[in-house]
């Protein structure tokens, strides 16, 4: 009875199998091939020489340490700057929140390369920032804030903070606002109740956001390559060097495994200390895990002490202030803490949203460099983009086609999987879920390099099919996560009502479920489309000279020489993305109006 019930569960979960099979073939198998390569020498004999070389030469461990350092600083800055923004978003009325989120997410939606070019315009010796600081007299000479660690930090924090804000926001939205009010009625000052009540409850979001930023940072290479100096080389760049220049697959595999091992180790410790369940964002799991920590962990006890101390300091300052300035109980007083929160969060949101727009004026310059301020006005760079011999129009078309199909396939296998993961119970569900979303946290270079190796044998390099399959590996997990959130919000009783009214399962899906979650499905598709459209890592390896995408062309151009043509392309791309986002927002609103 129990066995047959268990098997029945597996059989009824059949719509999830295409997704599992897809990842086994195009994620697990190629990665296993890469692991295999790292353990054999050129003659095919088993060897550990690649791995011993990692540690014999100080270079690789040193670069790993630099990578960890960059990731740690990025995480720290992203959390500190992102927290006030997330706090503000969680505590304003929802219409305002939706508007602010668009600005916070702006860097997330605008192409990665566009953002990086924008920073080049801003940070250069003659860039907008130095220009401004000298003009207002703060500086006498330009300072160096690009092609060094500072440049890398600015670029990476800018790129990753939106992710951090969203993760923290997910937790903060679930914190009952009455809790801090209750603390207030019990005599806690605002500072007290924040540090003692709100902050500890939001910690799981901070931890989850931090983990995502840290792990994602480890796989970065565009920002350090374009905004950093020679000393800021990161581990991914070493892998690329081994493949591009040395053709040493075995050693590239070994470095990849070192990177993957680091990621897994971080997840292992995170799980040990905080519990992976906190990642899914629910407050429930976190409360219990932090409670157990509170009982045992010395570190946690220290943390509690610090929090209580901060609470006391705030209370003390407040009491002191009260002594100095007698409050008139008959007059309402200005809310200074609210005002300063707006100022801080406003600066951060400006940092996130504004830089991208600096690329626009530069694209109209008459000069041959990305200089600030742009000289004169000319359309020559746009003429170059659309010239007869320009590769850009064709590359753009290719990118659109690839993104459409990658989005389509991701939906085709991801949506059924998401339905099963939300609605069906079966043994090992959490393991399968973790497996299906694991490409998100795997550094993309590993996916790209291993698929490169596999597809080269299948003659899929430089074909639509190869790149579409590769991009589907990356986009499908995002589709699954997004669609799962949509289905979780769907009221199953609507389906039950349709069944009792005489509609079978398929008719219910077609007439009731899909129309209602249509907005969410469109959003998931747009998400997948934009990820694929902007994807560079896989494009570098799975395309070739005759067949390349828009980001790949921009990257190749940027490595050779950054010129205003790129600014023109970036401006056009910005325009295209804006149209897409406005269009999907329009579709969403139209749907919302009806459903209310």
């Amino acid at each position: 009875m129990t066995i047959s019930k268990k098997w029945l569960g597996f059989i009824r979960a059949w719509p999830i199998y295409p997704a599992v099979l897809f990842l086994l073939l195009l994620f697990v198998y190629p990665t296993a091939l890469l692991v295999g390569l790292s353990a054999v020498d050129v003659d095919g004999n088993i060897t550990v020489s690649h791995y011993s070389r990692l540690f014999d030469q100080g270079l690789y461990t040193k670069v790993l340490l630099i990578t960890l350092k960059v990731a740690a600083w990025t995480t720290g800055f992203a959390i500190i700057a992102g927290y006030p923004v997330a706090y503000l978003l969680a505590n304003v009325r929802s219409s305002l929140r939706n508007t602010l989120i668009i600005w916070v997410l702006l860097p997330f939606w605008t192409s990665f390369l566009v953002r990086t070019f924008a920073w080049m315009v801003l940070l250069g010796r003659k860039g907008a920032i130095n220009d401004l600081l000298i003009a207002v007299g703060i500086l006498d000479y330009p300072i160096k804030i690009i092609y060094n660690f500072t440049g890398v930090m600015i670029g990476m924090v800018h790129a990753l903070m939106p992710l951090c804000v969203l993760t923290m926001l997910a937790v903060m939205e679930n914190i009952d606002t009455n809790l801090t009010k209750a603390a207030g009625t019990m005599g806690a000052r605002r500072g007290q109740s924040f540090w003692r009540i709100y902050f500890p409850l939001s910690l799981s979001g901070v931890a989850a956001g931090g983990l995502l930023i840290f792990v994602t940072s480890l796989g970065f290479f565009i920002t350090p390559a374009l905004l950093g100096g020679a000393k800021d080389t990161m581990i991914v760049q070493l892998i690329m060097f081994q493949i591009d220049s040395m053709l040493n697959w075995g050693f590239a595999g070994a470095i990849s495994m070192m990177l993957l091992g680091t990621v897994l180790l971080i997840f292992f410790f995170y799980d040990r200390w905080l519990g992976l369940s906190t990642l899914s964002g629910g407050t429930q799991g976190k409360v219990t895990s932090s409670n157990t920590n509170r009982r045992v962990g010395l570190g946690a006890r220290f943390g509690n002490g610090v929090l209580n101390g901060l609470g006391e300091i705030c209370a003390g300052l407040g009491a002191f202030y009260d002594k100095l300035v007698k409050r008139d109980p008959a007059r309402s007083r200005a809310d200074y803490s609210q005002r300063s929160l707006w100022v801080v969060a406003g600066i951060v949101i400006f940092f996130l949203a504004a830089p991208t727009f600096f690329i626009i004026p530069v694209s109209f310059t008459e000069e041959g460099f990305l200089t600030w301020p742009p000289k004169g006005f000319s359309l020559q760079w746009y003429e170059t983009v659309f010239a007869n011999n320009s590769p850009y129009p064709a590359a753009f078309l290719r990118s659109v086609i690839v993104a459409l199909f990658a989005g389509f396939f991701a939906m085709l296998i991801g949506v059924p999987a998401a339905f099963i993961l939300v609605r069906k119970q079966f043994v090992g569900k959490s393991v399968i879920f973790a497996f299906l979303v694991s490409p998100i946290i795997t550094p993309h270079i590993i996916l790209a390099v291993s698929l490169f190796y596999l597809f080269a044998r299948l003659h899929l390099i430089g074909t639509y099919l190869g790149l579409i399959l590769g991009h589907t590996v990356i986009t499908m997990p995002y589709v699954i996560v997004t669609v799962m959130a949509v289905i979780k919000n769907y009221d199953l009783r609507l389906d039950q009502a349709a069944w009792t009214l005489g509609a079978g399962k398929l008719k219910t899906l077609w007439f009731i479920t899909f129309p209602i979650i249509k907005g969410g499905l469109i959003a998931a598709f747009m998400f997948a489309f934009i990820i694929s459209f902007d994807e560079l890592t896989m494009a570098i390896y799975l395309t070739n000279g005759e067949f390349s995408t828009l980001p790949k062309h921009m990257w190749v151009d940027a490595i050779m020489r950054v010129n205003p043509t790129l600014a023109a392309v970036a401006t056009l791309m910005l325009l295209f993305m804006t149209v897409i986002i406005l269009f999907s927002e329009f579709l969403r609103r139209r749907n919302v109006r009806k459903i209310g």
Binding site: D491, R493, Q496, W499, T500, L501, G502, I595
Partner: protein, 361 residues
Amino acid sequence: MERQVKLQAKNVRKTYGSVVALEGTSIELLEGEFLTLLGPSGSGKTTLLMAIAGLNDPDSGEIWIDGELMTYTPSHQRGLGMVFQNYALFPHLTIYENIAFPLKMRKMRKAAIDEQVARVLNTVQLPDVQERFPSELSGGQQQRIALARCFVYEPSIILMDEPLGALDKKLRDSLQREIKHLHANLGITVIYVTHDQEEAMVMSDRICLMKEGRIEQIGSPADLYFQPNSIFAADFLGESNLFAGKVVGQTENSTSIQRVDDIVVSGVCDAEVRNIETAHYMIRPENIRVHSGETNEDNFVQGKLKEIIMIGQLTKYFLELADESEMVATALTGSRNDPLQQGDQIYFGWSTRDARIMLSS
């Protein structure tokens, strides 16, 4: 008049993991009957309803509808109607499209659909909302549309899962009567789930009281109110004074029990409850009369008037007995100036035929 058996559930059992949601449960419903499944949350009433609707698969047992075995028949082939607590109106369809949905699924022609939708909207007194979306209606209106969507295809059995749970009291009262009238006029069979005992008594032909996955008692509202079989039933429906005692005497018509404070009181009991040593004694507050002096009622107790609470048309009197236990009596509120005062020594008296003796377990 011989009525047909409309629905039978035989030994239906349902578990979720290790939790038994429904023990082997059997009920039978006659054509045109209004049966309410009443019980606290977690009593299995919704589980039973869902099994009848085909929205969950029972582990064992059988469900017969109109003489046909339908235990595992998919919901859409059972020809039932169901009204949900949150109405479950399709938010992306207009009121017209919502009500037309079951007719479309039955492949009815457009002209016939138009006619039926208009007819049923008249029945629920909302003739002018066809083109609106559900979100543009009030809660009470939405519930009427949910009823209309259910009545329109004339299912022979309608299942209602706490359909009025989300409405405020005034609206609930009027819709209760409306559903009752629709039931009477259309001659449909209804299974109604609620945790509100008052609602159950207002609406039902029979009430099926459930507790912890099994049926506690089934019978007419009067049966359950006046002859509860258990402490749970006595407590769940209406208010009651309940206490334990030792059986000290029995005649043909009554049984006497002795309270811990040695007061002896008498009441009636079913035959199967005879020949026991200890029992529970129940008397409804409205069957108790309050006396300021000695009384010659069948049963009486003396004590101190602890509290008087006026709740509109009724007034509640709380009596503290010598052993500090409490009893409550209700009476129609007489006048503004109650002659009784807090702290008075008074008497509660009642007739033996109004009191009931039941098993303690």
